[in-house]
Symmetry: C2
Subunit: 258 residues, 2 copies
């Protein structure tokens, strides 16, 4: 791997020059995904810089999400995650009737092993923004369903669903195991036939808690997707607030020109 040398006269500082060299090596393919970068000691020797300078160069690449460091092992070029394409078809009724929730239906198509853990169900008063989305009165309780999704054993998404308690109480929606087809199948069984969804999409850096729960290396953004489901009477019957590891997702939407 050719790394070149520092130009102390240049206005670009040394740590940035080193970062640029390494980035170029990655982009040229000299460093493949999974490969180990030169160690800090190697960079110090090659460029004749102090340890902190070498570290700062690597820090730069970490912030771009290009490499991950593992204590005691080294710094590695980030392997690409298997990307999940999410199209609106994932909520198709035919999947539910086949007993599959959206995440499992996806898994079959995309060829990964789905898993769900950290399922928690409770009954509480919703936060204000959720209450507004559900058109609930101030004192309207909701059933809160929180869980984490994994693809091939790696966490990729957390989700929290809020369902008005007057709908969910006494159904399997309020139990840990919702049964085949998931929440939406249960909602339709009890008369809330689904009509529309709205989704709000944004992206930001994760909080420390989110980073831990999703096992994200630093420099990885998350996609925030908030979905509201409406039944045929136009009543919002569920709000689902999800936090997705951004590199693992590609969202697809299709809409008519008007």
């Amino acid at each position: 791997m050719a790394l070149g040398a520092l130009d102390r006269a240049e206005d670009r500082p040394p740590y940035r020059q080193i970062a640029d060299h390494l980035r170029a090596a990655i982009e040229r393919g000299e460093l493949q995904p999974g490969d180990r970068l030169p160690s800090e000691a190697a960079l110090m020797a090659h460029y004749h810089v102090a340890r902190m300078t070498a570290r700062q160069a690597i820090q730069e690449l970490r912030g771009e999400g290009r490499v991950v460091s593992e204590q005691g092992r080294g710094v590695f070029v980030r392997p690409p995650l298997p990307v999940r394409r999410l199209a609106s078809e994932r909520f198709a009724r035919q999947h539910r009737e086949a007993g599959l929730a959206a995440f499992s239906a996806d898994a079959v198509k995309a060829g990964f092993t789905p898993d769900v853990d950290q399922i928690e169900v409770s009954r509480e008063l919703p936060p204000p923004d959720i209450r507004k989305r559900l058109h609930l009165p101030d004192n309207g309780p909701v059933v809160v369903r929180s869980r984490r999704y994994l693809a091939d054993g790696r966490p990729v998404e957390t989700a929290v669903s809020y369902i008005p308690a007057d709908i969910a109480d006494g159904t399997r929606i309020a139990e840990v195991d919702t049964g085949p087809g998931g929440i939406y199948a249960r909602l339709e069984e009890i008369g809330h036939v689904l009509d529309r969804f709205t989704e709000e999409v944004s992206a930001r850096m994760p909080t420390a808690a989110e980073r831990r729960r999703l096992g994200l290396p630093s420099g990885t953004p998350v996609i925030i997707l908030v979905r509201t489901a409406f039944d045929v009477t136009r009543r919002p019957v569920e709000v689902c607030d999800t936090v997705k590891s951004a590199p693992a997702y590609l969202l697809e939407y299709d809409f008519p020109a008007r």
Copy 2:
């Protein structure tokens, strides 16, 4: 502002404790958007740590996109950007007929001053992924329109449009000024009445070039949105590849259950 003290016995390292203190002060509202954080010297004195340790704490918050530092001035709590909500209505024909392109139509509703600069138009062979999206043969040239959008003078998005040259050649689409209503108005005038759009949404950290062009502080992700426009004959007539400053956008989609 109450910052507490370090607990050297704790397993959480000092720099992280300091970062947590500062983060908490921001979240409690003791540090408002735009406020200056304690200087490095102040943190050193308060916590009895070395300079690099104080800097590392601030680096932590920068990576989360919560603060921005300005050499010679200080470190400031990041003021929230004016958020643009993008709904699919932004491409409504009625806006075009009123002479407004999507971005301008939006500006009116959201109350910011729109601007476009760095407009460049060329004619070239498209990259493979664009060619595939446009269903073009290997040797089919496209007109490439590149530009940057600003809201209240601040860059928020860059966009590159690709239009098959057999459609765009000889029209204002191939000129710098496309005229009232933008590209889509011109396409409809020459018989390519628009029927559908598809959008693919993802998020990642920006490259150095993107960060410069959008004026992004470090720790700010971007949203990548690739839109394909189809005319009533189902032919793809434009692909638009956009890079948006993530904190400035909220995308909204609405689709029927099926």
